[in-house]
């Protein structure tokens, strides 16, 4: 799939934002006043910024408000509804924390649950797609949630949980890569099933339908070289997991180091998310060459 910056930024930032808001919702860290303002500001900035980035992916954003209507069937619609619900639910709790010195715990908990539910719906937008076998797997929501909670913990300064969560997510990510590499083949999609011509013999494209490109090819026929991908996997793992873990475990965890670990993690998430799209092979590519 085409690794469009808008969707990479969207999923990476909104995941971190909602992860952070979830931690804040359960009172970790237990902050109030200016400190609370700073963290909530960051949480909202990441979540809303991510959501805003997603709007750049829309070719006709005028109709974006209609995306709240189809929550019965559409994961994207559910995400929109839940994102707004989460942001609304978190707001009074944040207000209480910042301005009133505290807020009812159940209110924070509701906000936290809605925040994580939002991340889950985001993940399901991708997980639901049978057309992209690499995504169509339980590890996809696990990873999205892992990145959100782990990254959120990192930003929220929850060193110990962050360490455990990053380690777990890292393992899940490596598992997802290893398993994901075989999912397309395991799903049984081939040029032969795509065309129904397998009963005659081996199928290969002789001539593409049009000399030039088209929307499908631009959107779905992105491919990344194996060596290139492997390099990026290593870099992504190092940045998103290993370096933050080293910092968490090996440094006196202060604001500077925390900032560095978050920055490392964020860049790593961008790399990994780029790979998430770039390595995903859509079955429609079977109708085209290569």
């Amino acid at each position: 799939m085409h690794p469009a910056p808008s969707v990479i930024v969207f999923t990476a930032l909104s995941g971190l934002g909602f992860g952070l808001l979830a931690w804040l919702g359960i009172g970790r860290p237990d902050v109030a006043g200016a400190a609370a303002f700073g963290l909530y500001f960051l949480g909202y900035a990441l979540a809303v910024g991510g959501l805003t980035a997603s709007a750049f992916h829309l070719a006709n954003p005028r109709n974006a408000p209609k995306a709240f209507s189809q929550w019965r069937t559409s994961w994207l619609s559910r995400e929109a509804v839940l994102a707004v619900a989460a942001l609304l639910a978190v707001a009074p709790y944040a207000f209480g924390r910042i301005f009133l010195g505290g807020a009812p715990g159940w209110l924070g908990f509701v906000g936290a649950v809605l925040s994580l539910a939002t991340v889950f719906t985001t993940s399901m937008i991708y997980t639901q797609l049978k057309t992209i076998p690499r995504w169509h797997h339980p590890l996809t929501p696990v990873l999205f949630l892992g990145y959100a909670i782990g990254g959120g913990a990192l930003i929220a300064g929850q060193a110990t949980p962050a360490a455990f969560l990053l380690a777990a997510t890292g393992v899940a990510q490596i598992a997802a890569w290893v398993i994901g590499d075989g999912l397309f083949a395991r799903a049984g999609h081939t040029r032969e099933t795509a065309t129904g011509l397998g009963r005659i013999g081996k199928v290969r494209q002789l001539e593409s339908p049009h000399s030039g490109s088209n929307y499908l090819l631009k959107e779905m026929a992105y491919s990344v070289g194996r060596k290139h991908a492997e390099k990026l996997r290593v870099i992504g793992t190092a940045l998103a997991f290993l370096l933050p873990l080293l910092i968490l475990l090996g440094t006196p965890f202060g604001p500077l180091w925390a900032g560095l670990s978050v920055a490392c993690h964020l860049v790593g998430v961008f790399v990994v998310r780029w790979l998430f799209f770039a390595e995903a092979k859509h079955v429609v590519s079977l109708y085209y060459a290569g």
Binding site: L58, K130, L197, Q205, E207, S208, L216
Partner: protein
């Protein structure tokens, strides 16, 4: 409404005969010209006279080469457009309600007034049947010429999709698959009409008739084996044959 109907009144769709399609692209272009000035936004062409012309098409013809284990390689021309699946994943993923499958006839459509151009439906489609128009920013797809097939302003015999109306070889057939006696149902039954990528579970309505067995002469020995060789034999045969006229 992006929930799929339990059952549709009709199951309108196409039978595409791969044994007959010569790959002329007539359906591709007639589809383009009908649909660019009818249902919804025009089908734009970017960089139309430049180095990378890319336009929106609702139907495209692929060309494949199929090589059997023994025998000669074959060329198969393969038109592809929306298959109007019974279990259309493109519909259920739509967040705005722009995509829908009609209860009355099963046609999958996009209401462009509701489309926000997120492209998720195109991702959900295994067949590459949806293209986002780069100028209008809305999702375009085969409408099965919904604005022709019920159109009182055109003669009854022309109330078929433009691609079917124009196909010179008659390789495209339009009809109701819900009716087991319809010509499309019968063709499907007689010629083993196949689903594309059945493992996706989309239950496509459109069916493809596979190419018939080719190149029988490779496996079948057949020769006239006459013995008229010398002039004498020729004359004798001629004499006898002419007598019989």
């Amino acid at each position: 409404m992006t929930s799929l109907p339990e059952k549709t009144g009709k199951k309108l769709g196409l039978v595409i005969d791969l044994d007959t399609c010569v790959g002329c692209h007539a359906c591709v272009v007639n589809c383009k010209e009908w649909n660019t000035s009818n249902y919804g936004a025009p089908l734009s062409d970017m960089d139309a006279y430049g180095s990378n012309p890319v336009g929106t098409f609702l139907n495209r013809v692929h060309s494949y080469e199929v090589t059997p284990d023994t025998g000669l390689a074959q060329t198969v021309h393969f038109p592809k457009s929306c298959l109007h699946c019974e279990d259309a994943p493109c519909v259920t993923v739509c967040p705005t309600g722009a995509s829908y499958k009609r209860v009355e006839d099963g046609i999958v459509l996009v209401n462009e007034d509701d489309c926000m151009g997120c492209g998720l439906c195109a991702w959900a489609c295994p067949y590459g049947a949806r293209e986002l128009d780069q100028l209008a920013g809305v999702m375009k797809k085969c409408t099965l010429c919904v604005d022709r097939i019920y159109n009182d302003n055109i003669p009854e015999e022309d109330r078929v999709p433009a691609c079917v109306r124009t196909c010179p070889a008659g390789a495209r057939h339009f009809g109701d698959f819900a009716d087991p006696d319809s010509p499309v149902s019968r063709l499907t039954a007689e010629r083993g009409g196949m689903e594309l990528m059945p493992e996706q579970g989309t239950k496509p309505v459109n069916r493809y008739l596979p190419p018939r067995q080719k190149d029988a002469s490779l496996s079948e020995i057949k020769a006239l084996g006459g013995d008229i060789e010398e002039p004498k034999g020729l004359l004798a045969w001629l004499d006898k044959a002419l007598e019989a006229i």
